[in-house]
């Protein structure tokens, strides 16, 4: 343990993908700061037209501006690539709409710092908190969770949660290969399982959305659900595209 005490502190980055979140992004950044000042914060502006980027920059975040909208998967991956090339040791993905509770940062980071996992998923349904999606959303979330659990042979309760923490091992996988579009977290979890990353779920509390509503319409969510099911199915037969370094 004394050895661990002497190693330099891990460089931490919070990756905040944002699409038209000017109303909430400033507070999200302040809350991350308040929760853990050691965090560098990078906001990925996925083609906002409401000045989200300017607000984020004014709040002191680093800013990555995508030239056009890529969708959540492509936006988050930009952050992963940034974290990897700039030498960060751990990255936390946290939504720009204020849904994720910064006070839970420590909970989600712990397994990474302890070296117990490569990918930590903050689960809304693993015991704490009162957040519950309703109706079809919840049915879909349950369905994805059970399919993914089956595929990667590890029980997970919440594969749709985008509140996640990654070490360099999972960063290097996701920087090179990450699903695009919505519901990317489901595919990404299967991908991580396929590359034998150590996945750990921790219970977190989550807030109800502060402003706005889900950006998914019903036909779109059906389309993305079908797309994810196809991707997940095919991924079982796909040869790994890259080779990950063995864990140190």
């Amino acid at each position: 343990m004394t050895e661990a005490d002497q190693t330099p502190p891990k460089r931490q980055i919070a990756i905040v993908p944002a699409l038209n979140e000017a109303a909430t992004i400033g507070r999200v950044i302040q809350e991350i700061r308040a929760a853990d000042p050691a965090f560098e914060i990078v906001v990925v502006d996925d083609g906002s037209d409401d000045g989200t980027g300017a607000v984020a920059e004014a709040a002191g975040a680093r800013l990555l501006i995508l030239p056009f909208n890529l969708g959540i998967g492509g936006a988050v991956q930009t952050g992963f690539r940034y974290a990897l090339t700039n030498g960060f040791d751990v990255a936390v993905q946290i939504d720009g709409d204020g849904q994720h509770d910064s006070s839970q940062l420590r909970v989600i980071l712990e397994p990474l710092i302890a070296g117990e996992a490569d990918l930590v998923i903050g689960s809304r349904y693993a015991g704490v908190g009162t957040y519950r999606a309703r109706g079809m959303r919840r049915v879909g979330q349950r369905l994805f969770a059970s399919i993914v659990s089956l595929l990667i042979r590890q029980p997970l309760t919440d594969t749709s949660s985008s509140f996640r923490a990654l070490n360099r091992r999972s960063l290097s996988l996701f920087a090179a290969d990450y699903p695009h579009g919505f519901l990317e977290t489901v595919e990404a979890t299967v991908l991580a399982g396929k590359y034998r990353l150590r996945i750990k779920e921790v219970p977190v509390t989550m807030r109800e959305r502060e402003t706005g509503s889900t950006s998914l319409t019903i036909p779109l969510s059906l389309f993305y659900s079908a797309k994810v099911l196809l991707a997940v199915f095919v991924s079982m037969f796909r040869r790994p595209a890259l080779r990950l370094e063995e864990e140190p």
Binding site: L64, I65, P67, G74, T78, N86, G87
Partner: protein, 126 residues
């Protein structure tokens, strides 16, 4: 069993089709690599409409009573192949598009940081 008129019309249509493709390549509106499948499609249809015995044989072998229908089948299959090929091309382009957009965002950030803090260039890199 193959009406002569069908053969003539099919052959003329195939020739016009091939000429249009050739013109598109000549005027650089169509790259050769994407024209190839179309040229083969047109070529096969032309061949089968001129070489009537071959079309009859093909129809017989796959159990089509009316040989000109076989022409449709062959044409249909080739068009499917072309469309599928295009879907793979689009997928690849979309993939590269995402990567380029991300590259722009990353490079632009680096440039902004360097312009803001010229002295700290080395700290930014790594």
């Amino acid at each position: 069993m193959i009406p002569f008129r069908v053969s003539v019309v099919a052959a003329i249509a195939a020739i016009i089709f091939l000429l249009v493709i050739f013109e598109l390549i000549r005027s650089r509106k169509l790259q050769e690599r994407y024209a190839l499948l179309w040229l083969i499609t047109g070529g096969v249809i032309l061949l089968l409409s001129v070489w009537r015995d071959a079309l009859r044989l093909v129809a017989e072998q796959i159990g089509i009573a009316y040989p000109p229908s076989a022409l449709f089948v062959v044409g249909f299959l080739f068009i499917l192949a072309v469309l599928l090929h295009y879907s793979t091309v689009i997928s690849e382009l979309a993939e590269r598009n995402v990567m380029l957009a991300q590259d722009i965002a990353l490079l632009e950030e680096r440039l902004r940081m360097q312009e803001a803090h010229p002295a700290e260039e080395r700290a930014q890199g790594a």
